[in-house]
Structure formats: structure tokens, C-alpha cells
């Protein structure tokens, strides 16, 4: 089993930093979309639009990766916090029965 050291509140707070990544990436997706048609009429048009399509399809995954990681960290923090409270409560309850 794991041996671990954790400050749940700080873990939860740090997860907030990751939650902004989704929005940031969404903005970048908008930047990509604004480039559409830039090479219209040129021999490079197909390659350019193809690249734009590939980038646009994959970029949202970066936002998701940040969001999922943030959720996982936040979830871990919440779980640590919950377990901590539960064990503390259980112990408090045990002492109360003495």
C-alpha cells in the first residue's frame, strides 16, 4: 500500500489552477478557426486546411486533458479530506463511547 503525505486543502486549491486550462485551450481553438480560408486559391490550400482540420480536431483533447487531470486532483483532494473527516469522526465517536 501507499505511504503518503498530503494536505488535502492545498491539493484541492492546486486543482483549480488546472481547471483554467480547458478555457485557455478553447480560446486557442477559436484562434485556429479564425485562420480558415487563409490560403484560399493557393496551391497550398488543401494542405493548409488539412493541417487546420487535424489541429482543430485534436486541440480540444488538450483542454480535456487539463480538465480531467484537474478533476482527478480535485477528486483526490476531496477523497483525502472526506476520509480524514470520516476517520476523525469515527475516532471521536469511539472516544464518546468510553
Amino acid at each position: 500500500m501507499s505511504e503518503f503525505l498530503v494536505t488535502p486543502e492545498d491539493v484541492i486549491a492546486a486543482s483549480g489552477r488546472l481547471s483554467v486550462i480547458g478555457g485557455g485551450v478553447e480560446e486557442l481553438c477559436g484562434h485556429l478557426q479564425s485562420c480558415a480560408g487563409a490560403a484560399a486559391g493557393t496551391p497550398a490550400e488543401a494542405a493548409f486546411e488539412g493541417m487546420l482540420g487535424r489541429f482543430s480536431a485534436v486541440l480540444p483533447h488538450f483542454g480535456l486533458a487539463g480538465e480531467h487531470l484537474g478533476l482527478a486532483v480535485a477528486g483526490a483532494g476531496a477523497e483525502y479530506s472526506r476520509s480524514d473527516l470520516e476517520v476523525a469522526d469515527a475516532c471521536d465517536g469511539g472516544r464518546g463511547g468510553e
Binding site: M1, S2, F4, L5, V6, T7, D10, V11, A14, R17, L18, V20, I21, G24, V25, E27, L28, H31, L32, S34, C35, G37, A38, A39, A40, G41, T42, P43, A44, A46, A47, F48, G50, M51, R54, F55, V58, L59, H61, F62, A65, G66, H68, L69, L71, A72, G75, A76, E79, R82, L85, E86, D89, A90, D92, G93, G94, R95, G96, G97
Partner: protein
């Protein structure tokens, strides 16, 4: 131009008879796209920095197996951000190079077009001049022949034709002068026409060269852009306990639903735990304003409600209202079982 507004694609002027096209495309739009992709690259770098700094921050107060797994995944995702940023930057560079070359080729093509059109106008002018000179040569030759014939006929008449012969000779002299002038014009127009054709050919060569350079630049850019791909980063799997994770299907007929409610600092928190027959567990924790399912609230009081029916807030889990099988819990002290 505002970077938020993409420039409209410029219309390519199509020269009518210059003999070569101007490279199509709008260098400004391509430059705009290049700047945007550069911005995307910078943005991805910023996000990578956020991932990296968060991992560094978390390393100070989170250690253990889960923390190591997080650090490893964070590192992989950060690297994906970094590589994606570099790929976007490569695209920006390829587009910038193409945009600049296209701009140069189009300028060159337009200059060549203007010069070629000037040459075409010169050719038209010299052609008219040549035709005019040739006409004047023909007229002067006819006039000279007629004057000479008149003079010959007048002289054949003897003393009576002397005066007419003199007039004819004067006419012949004038016609000869006109013929010489027209022939000189014809020669000059022919030479000028030749020079104009030669110059047109040179400008057409430059124009075609500019078009070919733009084609080559487009091919280079296409090759670069086609090779650019971004691999999606791995996603963290949802925690089994995460709300709406869908990892475990709740079916109260084949498992137990247990609701644990505790009150802390005036807030009531409800934890709903489902255990199915296979031993899998799903847990939902959420605050319950108004003290749902709580009796005898008090600081630190824990109420365990086995089989208490449909868990509120368990959205996405398909929980029915059927009670579970009554998980046994022994309550001690302030803990009660309902």
C-alpha cells in the same frame, strides 16, 4: 489591421494578354494565419507552464503513490502540450515563409505584368506606325512611278512637253523624299517593334519565373504542413468515486445503497455508497442544504442510513428508489442507524 479580423482574400488580377498569371493567394491572410498559429503555440506553452508549475507546487504537499501517478501523467500531458506548441510553431514558420515568398512573387508578377502591358501597348503603337509607314511607302512609290511616267510622256512630246516634264520631275523629287521618309519610318517602326517584342518576352519570362517560384513555395509549404500532426494527450480516468463517472452502474436490486450523513461546521454532507454484488463500490459525496435525511443534527453527529432509497444527487447513475438490502452498521455513541 486588427489581429482579431482575418483579412479578406485578395482578388488576383488576371492579365488579359501578358502571357503569364500572377501567383494566386492573399499573403496578408497567410501572414495573419501564421501569427495566429504562433499565438496558439505561445498559448500551448503557457498551458504547459501551468501544468508544470502546478505539478511543482503539488510536489510540496502531496506525496505517495497517487501523487507519483499524478506527477507522471502531468509530465506526459505537459510534454504533449510542449510538442503541440512546437508543431504549431513549425506551421506558423512554414506559413510565414510561404506568405513572404508569395508576397515577393506577387509583387514581381505585378511589376512584370505592368511592364508587359507597357510592351504590349508599345507593340500596338509600333504596329500601327509600321502599317502607316508601309502605306506611305506604297503611296510614295506609286506617286514616284506616276511622276516618272508623266515626265517620260512629257519629254516624248518634245518642246511642247518641256514644262509638263519639269513639273513631273518636281513631283518625282517630292515623291522620292516622301518615299525615303516613309521607308525610314518603316525601318524605325520595325526595329521598335522588334525591341518591344524582345522586352515583352523578357518580362514574360520574369512573370512566369515569379509564378513558378510561388508554386515552388506553395509546394514547400504544403509538404511542411502535411507532415505536421499533433498527438492527443492521454486523459486521466475518472475516479470511481467521482460523481457521474459512470464507472459503476447502480442497480439497488443487486447491491446495497448506504447513505452516510454527517454535519460539520453547520454544513450537512451526505455520502452515498453503493456496493454491488461483485464488490464494486461507487461513492458520491455532496453537501445537502436543509439536512436531507438527517435526524438529530449536531456537531460531529453521524447518521448512517442503510437502504435509505434513491440517493439524491446521484445523477447519471440510474439509481432507482428501491431500498438496498440493509447493510448492517453498529452505531456507537453519537452514531445512529435509521
Amino acid at each position: 489591421m486588427s489581429p482579431a479580423e482575418p483579412p479578406a482574400a485578395g482578388a488576383t488580377p488576371v492579365p488579359a494578354a501578358v502571357g503569364f498569371p500572377i501567383a494566386p493567394g492573399d499573403p496578408e491572410s497567410i501572414e495573419f494565419a501564421s501569427r495566429r498559429l504562433g499565438g496558439v503555440a505561445d498559448g500551448l506553452d503557457v498551458q504547459a507552464g501551468t501544468m508544470r508549475s502546478t505539478a511543482t507546487l503539488l510536489a510540496d504537499f502531496w506525496r505517495g503513490h497517487a501523487a507519483s501517478a499524478y506527477q507522471a501523467l502531468s509530465s506526459i500531458i505537459t510534454e504533449h502540450f510542449h510538442v503541440a506548441g512546437e508543431t504549431s510553431r513549425s506551421a506558423a514558420t512554414a506559413l510565414r515563409r510561404y506568405g513572404l515568398e508569395l508576397e515577393r512573387c506577387r509583387r514581381k508578377g505585378m511589376a512584370a505584368t505592368a511592364q508587359a502591358e507597357r510592351c504590349l501597348n508599345e507593340i500596338k503603337f509600333q504596329t500601327r506606325r509600321l502599317h502607316d509607314a508601309q502605306l506611305r511607302v506604297s503611296v510614295a512609290q506609286d506617286a514616284l512611278s506616276a511622276a516618272r511616267a508623266d515626265g517620260a510622256r512629257a519629254r516624248a512630246e518634245g518642246p511642247f512637253g518641256t514644262a509638263r516634264a519639269a513639273v513631273a520631275d518636281l513631283e518625282a523629287i517630292a515623291s522620292q523624299a516622301a518615299l525615303t521618309s516613309a521607308q525610314a519610318d518603316e525601318q524605325a517602326a520595325t526595329e521598335a517593334l522588334g525591341r518591344a517584342h524582345e522586352e515583352l518576352s523578357q518580362w514574360q519570362g520574369l512573370g512566369r519565373g515569379a509564378w513558378q517560384d510561388a508554386q515552388a513555395a506553395a509546394d514547400d509549404a504544403s509538404g511542411s504542413l502535411q507532415a505536421l500532426t499533433i498527438a492527443p494527450p492521454p486523459l486521466a480516468a475518472p475516479l470511481p468515486s467521482a460523481q457521474g463517472s459512470g464507472e459503476i452502474t447502480i442497480d439497488p436490486r443487486s447491491g446495497t445503497v448506504q447513505t452516510i450523513t454527517h454535519t460539520k461546521s453547520g454544513e450537512t454532507i451526505e455520502t452515498i455508497t453503493y456496493t454491488n454484488s461483485g464488490g464494486s463500490v461507487a461513492t458520491i459525496t455532496h453537501p445537502t442544504p436543509g439536512g436531507h435525511g438527517v435526524s438529530g443534527q449536531g456537531s460531529g453527529e453521524t447518521i448512517i442510513s442503510p437502504g435509505s432509497g434513491a440517493p439524491q444527487g446521484a445523477s447519471g447513475h440510474g439509481a432507482s428508489g428501491k431500498p438496498g438490502s440493509g447493510h448492517g452498521t453498529s452505531g456507537t455513541g453519537e452514531t445512529s442507524v435509521r
